[in-house]
Amino acid sequence: MRLGFVLREMGAGLRRNFTMTLSVVLVTMVSLFFLGLGLLVQQQVSILKGDWYDRVQVSIFLCGEVSGEERCPTGPVTTEQRDALRAQLEASPLVDRVFYESQQEAYDNFLEQYDDALTENVTPDQLPESFRVRLTEPDRYEEIREQFAGQPGVEDVPDQRAILGPLFAAMDGATRVAIGLAALMLLCSVLLVSTTIRLTAFSRRRETSIMRLVGASRALIQLPFVLEGVVASFVGAVLASGALYALVEFGVGRLNDRPDFTTRLVETADVLWPTAPVLVGVGLVFSVVASLLSLRRWLRV
């Protein structure tokens, strides 16, 4: 009886301020969409970082026949130099495992990676032999680089991070923009929820005043208003999750399906958990807080 009463009152409120409710739903949807986007980009960054750290290898290129005077004043690497380097690497606590790549192996890889036009004119002895080193702590990359670059027999230790650095910076920037927009829009949706409640309280002040007069409890008077905000926010959160799902399914998913695209990307499963529940949670918390704040001012007993 009472539950039915509360729900009927809530429904009446939602219908009476339909444009307002629609605004709340849309603004909440957009705000939570950006929040979710930020979360997904963050997830993507951590996937990429994880992948990169798994794969990260220091390449130590050794001097060959074709290396320039400038970098390799001692000429091609000697057997002793190569053994000394290997021993040094294997002794280092930073090093997990060491692979040696000969000139022939480098040539095979080169053939695989690039297309005919370029490879036709390249011979194995034009490519450098190298040590490929996997680290125990990928973060301490720079230390290895500094230790080995410039040692006799070493031609170059290129810095791979220079490639990924800007990518990560861009994604971090995107996250910040998305979260910033989300914060701005969440502010809007809090303002709107409280305005909606104020509007509803205003348009239903006659009912409310009668309820107060006949001695309805505070909870019974206020519950329909809180529920109204909660329902609107919930719908907004569900719509935002749906939009993210569609984005991942049709936008990211299409990339993922391309055979030449090997980077692991966020999936729809990532939207379903944990993004969507987080959005619903944030939406509910904000709307309840907004409701309670405006109820304090507009619906005293």
């Binding site: 009886m1 009472r2 009463f5 006659r206 009912e207 005043s209 009668i210 309820m211 107060r212 007069l213 006949v214 001695g215 309805a216 409890s217 505070r218 019974l220 007993v301």
Partner: protein, 229 residues
């Protein structure tokens, strides 16, 4: 039923008091007219009884409760023992007569069979049998006020407050409403009614409390409206 002791009410800094040192006792079963010029504090008196406002000083006791000290979550329980009627009826225009009266029981969570019994009983008491399905706008002013009284009384409160209940009614209709209130009073319900209507007060010959600038200037049993006229 109602005891005011040295009660003052000041609405805000710099306002003159709406009630000043009012001491008054109203017993169970009384019928009291509250008269006095506009702004003399009649509505303020009723609002203090309902705890719609809090007294600035003094103690207000209603039905054995110290209203000033009542916790806010206990206020609904107080209001359930009081029925209230206003000049402007305050009915829900989109609900029928039956629903308007039932509303008062629904919000208290009364079960359906209780509502189905009490509402027609009360509508019969106020003389509205057969008009259960009408909307307020299909009724005359007097009939609307009867609906409001039915709503105030359906929960059988021990106290009924009325703030100028005949203010919007023509003299003929007003007499009908007064007869109804008198009948309700005879069932043992205490009634406090604020009014400007001198004819009615003079005719009913009940207890009259006159306020002027927030002070009680007269308190007579079986009194009339004007003292100095």
């Amino acid at each position: 039923m109602i005891t005011f002791e040295h009660v003052s009410k000041v609405y805000g800094e710099g306002y003159r008091p709406a009630l000043a040192e009012v001491t008054l006792q109203i017993d169970k079963g009384d019928f009291v007219f509250l008269v006095g010029p506009s702004g003399s504090g009649k509505s303020t008196f009723l609002r203090l009884v309902l705890k719609e406002e809090k007294a600035s000083s003094g103690t207000v006791q209603v039905a054995g409760r110290d209203v000033g000290r009542l916790r806010s979550w206990k206020v609904p329980a107080l209001r359930r023992e009081i029925g209230v009627v206003f000049q402007d009826f305050r009915l829900l225009t989109d609900k029928s007569v039956f629903e308007n009266v039932a509303f008062a029981l629904q919000v208290l969570g009364r079960p359906r069979h209780v509502i189905a019994q009490s509402v027609p009983e009360t509508l019969a008491l106020v003389g509205l049998q057969g008009k259960e399905k009408r909307r307020p706008h299909e009724l005359s002013g007097g009939e609307q006020q009867r609906v409001a009284i039915a709503r105030a009384f359906v929960n059988r409160p021990s106290l009924l407050l009325a703030d100028e209940p005949t203010g919007n009614l023509d003299p003929e209709t007003s007499v009908g409403i007064m007869k109804l209130l008198d009948r309700i009073n005879r069932t043992g319900t205490t009634i406090v009614m604020a009014t400007h209507d001198d004819d009615i007060v003079d005719q009913m010959r009940k207890r009259v409390v006159e306020l002027r600038d927030g002070r009680v200037v007269r308190d007579e049993d079986r009194g009339v409206y004007g003292s100095a006229r």
